[in-house]
Symmetry: C2
Amino acid sequence: MSRPRPATIRDVAALAGVSVGTASKALNGRGSLRAETVARVRQAAGQLDFRANEAARSLHADRTYTVGMITTDTIGRFSIPLLIGAEDILGAGQVSVLLCDARDDPIRERHHLQVLLSRRVDGIIVTGRRAGTRAPIGAGLPVPVVYAFLASADPADCSIVPDEAAGIRIAAEHLRSTGRSRLVHVTGPEHHHSARVRAEALTGLVAAPLFGEWSEAWGRRAAGLLLARGGDFDGVICGNDQIARGVAETLREAGRDVPRDVAVTGFDNWDVIAEASRPPLTSVDMDLEGLGRSAAGLLLDAIAGNPAPGPHRHPTRLIIRDSSVL
Amino acid sequence: MSRPRPATIRDVAALAGVSVGTASKALNGRGSLRAETVARVRQAAGQLDFRANEAARSLHADRTYTVGMITTDTIGRFSIPLLIGAEDILGAGQVSVLLCDARDDPIRERHHLQVLLSRRVDGIIVTGRRAGTRAPIGAGLPVPVVYAFLASADPADCSIVPDEAAGIRIAAEHLRSTGRSRLVHVTGPEHHHSARVRAEALTGLVAAPLFGEWSEAWGRRAAGLLLARGGDFDGVICGNDQIARGVAETLREAGRDVPRDVAVTGFDNWDVIAEASRPPLTSVDMDLEGLGRSAAGLLLDAIAGNPAPGPHRHPTRLIIRDSSVL
């Protein structure tokens, strides 16, 4: 006798037309939601016969309601929003997060993995501060693993990463649609995954990229180089906000008005940099908190017996500020 | 029969003349230390009959080797180094960290506390992104609690906070010792604990402080105000690095050379801001990673039966860059 697959919180969210986070909050009576939203989610849950933790509990009496989160390298700026998003979804499902920081040390990482397994966690999220691909954390592990922000080299593993290529192309399209036609690209080191992926995504849209480092100082030097070459450009797509800030400052000090003469875009939407820049920066936002929520949703689904193997891409969005539009 | 109190890792560290973190690494054979240091720590441990986890294990057979870390408000920039430091010491003692993010929501916080207690954690670290005082997280809790970065309102609780007053005075002394005599103070909102504590610490050393916000934009406006007043100042002590960067930029654009005409200092030693500033900023570093290590050490001691109640201050240090010395 074949049973239909039990409904997951993702099914409920889809039917109610809300995010997984919202569905989770509504079902757990947490956070501040409109009564109408809560009602819609509960109706969807009823319709799908979704029984959340109760179902999971009865199916998996040995669950510990604990998941491990291993950061490959040191916890950093990119890990925080991700961690916040994941904790939001997991906490709503009464699941606690055990945090482990492997600091680029394979021995530490193996140690952490063993500790997590000995504590019988229900699943593991692997993350890190650098995007790109990493070796699987282990083979034949007894619990589901989701790779977030970075991807597992094994395409059968469940990974969710920001769609960096689409993100940088949205920035380029934005500049073209506002009348810029001579675009240049200033970005981080050529060996860095994100710099390479973004530069490749712009092939045909911009001249050869200028690779350097992820700093304001490089942005200032790069702008100086571009000006020295004759300065025939009206848009600079930068690999991150720090570079964009350095570029915008140097252009301003050289008498080029941003955005009138040259439009500038950043990447990361890091508020302290993007908003303090003069003018404030248009920037690509990777929605890392949303990515963390999705990663946690994928892990909870896998724990409940509904894995979604393979690579997943989380969409980015463009935040438009004064550096690109008059 | 009175027994001497068993030696703690702090006693071992003190005898060996190293930090608690180094002592922990040496005893657990982790990290990269000089052989001589490891030998010195092990000798001290032998001399004090220190038996680390074995001792604790036999005394507390019901330990779970798990501690909870509750952040009052959302995990932020100040929480990361603290978390890294705490995880360093706890991980070395085979203790796992359960992370909970209360997001300024008392209901979430109570929920997290109950979850942690039901999971039988050995102890709890309470932290947050804003310094200052908070109500105790609970009364009569069955496990030790250490407040880190922020302090409990109950002076009998164990709290460890950065010595902000001493930190800002070190910055003032540095400017005076390098010949500056007309100092001003530009800082964050008057209602903010850190702004108030630091301004009070400078009473008598500087003119009335300029309170505003923790942003570069405020730094720029404040410098404009100071220049409009006649500009009779040769040193600006700022409440954070963002303010300092705004001040330094505006002075430079107004033709005042930093540091020749006016020296500028920041606070936080936030590298992305301090190093990208022109010139790079001299800044007070609260050593939050060290504070996190100390908090974890205090908690492990308390779990082992050696509590250190009351408020503790963690020292700050001044990082000197080009904004204050010629």
